[in-house]
Subunit: 396 residues, 2 copies
């Protein structure tokens, strides 16, 4: 696996249970995954030799059975060289391209008939001005590459608000696209896994709550979701998985858009990730098979596990960097709630950084949300303890 | 933690989640835990310097916050030296003595009024002959130290059947005790955890099914258990935990004995273990808090988690060494059942050795037993696939 963050870290319990030897390319000797993976060579995902060494197992071997990733920041040229070693790359470079390049993704999804917000490539200010006219004067401009957690995304109502990006693009930086600023009721996510054989299993559709462009809370399943919309969401995600020939876990983030003037409600695909995803952390404690185990099974072409929830509701709250310097100091307080499931990533604290999550699983949704929020707030620091605003809905 | 077997291996997910750094003294560089623990110095539990180095963290530190164990094979002198470093030992040497020495255990449990089979120290053949007379001609002779998985236990009806053990005892080997051969309906186990502060939480009483002196299957909770007996079992285990001042996980194995002549049914304590135990492996998938996480919480004096089951029934089947040479070869077959939870220990295959376990969690007990058995049989080897005898009850 390439990448030594929390996703690789959370892969370890599943690998241990299944007797799968996990070798992880980590960015440094003390990153989240390096703390818990025995075979963790240090290297850079963009350095072909580092990745090839990972796959070959250094001088001692054995050669890996498969290469997979916890992020998309790896070049197609590197992946091609891995494939030349005879080692499958899952998801493939062809699939991964659509998770790396939002322009390519929008083009392909539109071809596949997957519902998307209106969008257009915007090579220059004139193109953006034309698009703004077309969608009512307000749009979301995105860099086609390199964005995450709200970075590389800007809501604009005039072309000059992304002048710096146009300049960067002209100098070889990422191309830009514009999307309509969808007015949505809430955000949903579909998480599924797919094997090379085509076997596909999806977890229930979840609601994701964002604050400041970062996922704050996930509720599984999405409360009160219209069954027709649920089917539409699962259908869209399945079409993406099959159309892009994804193997491993795929997360499809969507907007739930209320119909106006008698039109039915609908879902529009926002973003994709071809790896375990924050919207699926609840599955560790809340589903029969976690997204981490399912990803391992999928990329190893093993039969997929049952994605059913273990209880009516699961709520996951992210723990972000705030006032507390050492999160484990909060364990004596947060574990007082005997039902909370706590997951810390062993990362240095930086403001706003994802440092862990807390999951509450059970029967009473309001109670679970309060507990998960309280647990996350305690871990973040007492100063943050009172702040959940619980706002719903919005507009990108 | 001292000991590099499957119990230390299965401790790693809980340590990772809680952000607890686990340092494990392993018997060799490739044992079960060494494969998945980054900080795993090789050494011998009986070598004081190896254990002290473990606690000190070698030359680099940091000093451990607490020392705990996955087995009882560590000397009181070594533990005393750890305590002199200012590092708590949990469970303490005083408590651990009763898990190491069955004579001391029987004496103390009898003092505490915990129900036990009739028993006597048997220093020589004459003493054993007298005990046999007293209990109807049949007894279980045990070595006070060093037994596990049916080793160090022999059912006899004449003193000369343990002549070799008497000889060994005379030459400084372990002392012997004899216990009445209890006719029992089935075997039960109580698993609980206790903090230094005294907080104590127990999982539901389980039924353990033994084959050839080795645990074959665990059913949680014990089917059809009379509530009065359940209370008696929990009460006995609580008395043991408090009477011996145990910290961490305690497993108390018991016999369920049917009353004769109008007497009520009762439980008698058979064995103790002061660590996570095979009878609690079901808790990984079947309980809100696993025995491994609970042990970590308890020895770190953190609040204990909820031991409630996640579903009405959990069945765990052990995978023992048999005809299959590489267990992971069976994954494509065993994972076809999407509900099975598979746990492999990464150990070399030897006949009868515990190599892994399979858990099924759900609503239909008979179905879960069949699935768990089928999964374990597949992992053991196809030749074993047809053999579960399902026998219940018996006599040691």
């Amino acid at each position: 696996m390439v990448g030594g963050g929390q996703l690789a870290r959370m892969m370890t319990p599943a690998a241990t249970a299944l007797g799968v030897r996990l070798r992880v390319l980590v960015e440094g000797p003390t990153v989240a995954a390096a703390q818990v993976v025995v075979d963790a060579p240090v290297g850079a995902p963009r350095q072909a030799e580092d990745v090839l060494d990972l796959v070959r197992g250094g001088d001692d071997g054995p050669m890996a059975d498969v290469l997979t990733f916890e992020h998309e920041h790896i070049g197609a040229d590197v992946l091609e060289r891995v494939r030349e070693l005879g080692v499958p790359v899952r998801p493939s470079a062809e699939a991964l391209r659509y998770a790396q390049d939002k322009l390519a993704m929008r083009e392909r999804l539109t071809e596949l008939g997957v519902p998307c917000p209106r969008w257009a490539p915007v090579p220059d200010a004139a193109a953006l001005a034309a698009f703004l006219d077309q969608v009512g004067g307000r749009a979301v401009v995105k860099t086609s590459r390199g964005g995450y957690d709200g970075k590389g995304v800007r809501v604009v109502d005039a072309p000059d608000q992304v002048d710096d990006w146009f300049e960067a693009a002209a100098q070889g930086g990422p191309a830009l696209l514009a999307e309509e600023a969808v007015g949505f009721a809430r955000e949903l996510a579909v998480l599924l896994a797919r094997r090379p054989s085509g076997e596909l299993r999806a977890w229930p559709v979840v609601e994701t709550v964002q604050r400041g462009g970062v996922c704050s809370e996930v509720i599984a399943p999405a409360p009160g979701l219209d069954p027709a919309l649920e089917r539409a969401a699962l259908d869209a995600a399945t079409r993406v998985a099959e159309g892009l020939d994804v193997t491993g876990v795929l997360a499809v983030e969507m907007f739930e858009v209320l119909g106006v003037g008698g039109e039915p409600d609908r879902v529009l695909v926002n973003e994709l990730a071809m790896r375990p995803h924050n919207s699926g952390h609840w599955t560790i404690d809340g589903a029969v098979t976690s997204q981490f185990e399912q990803h391992l099974r999928a990329v190893l072409d093993l039969p997929l596990g049952d994605p059913s929830p273990r209880a009516p509701w699961s709520v996951m709250a992210n723990v972000l960097g705030s006032t507390r310097e050492k999160l484990t100091d909060a364990l004596p307080y947060v574990l007082v709630d005997p039902h909370l499931r706590v997951h810390l990533y062993g990362k240095d604290v930086r403001p706003g950084r994802k440092l862990g999550h807390v999951t509450a699983v059970g029967h009473e949704l309001a109670d679970l949300r309060a507990r998960a929020r309280a647990g996350a707030d305690l871990l973040q620091g007492f100063a943050e303890g009172a702040a959940p605003d619980g706002r719903r809905g919005g507009s990108v």
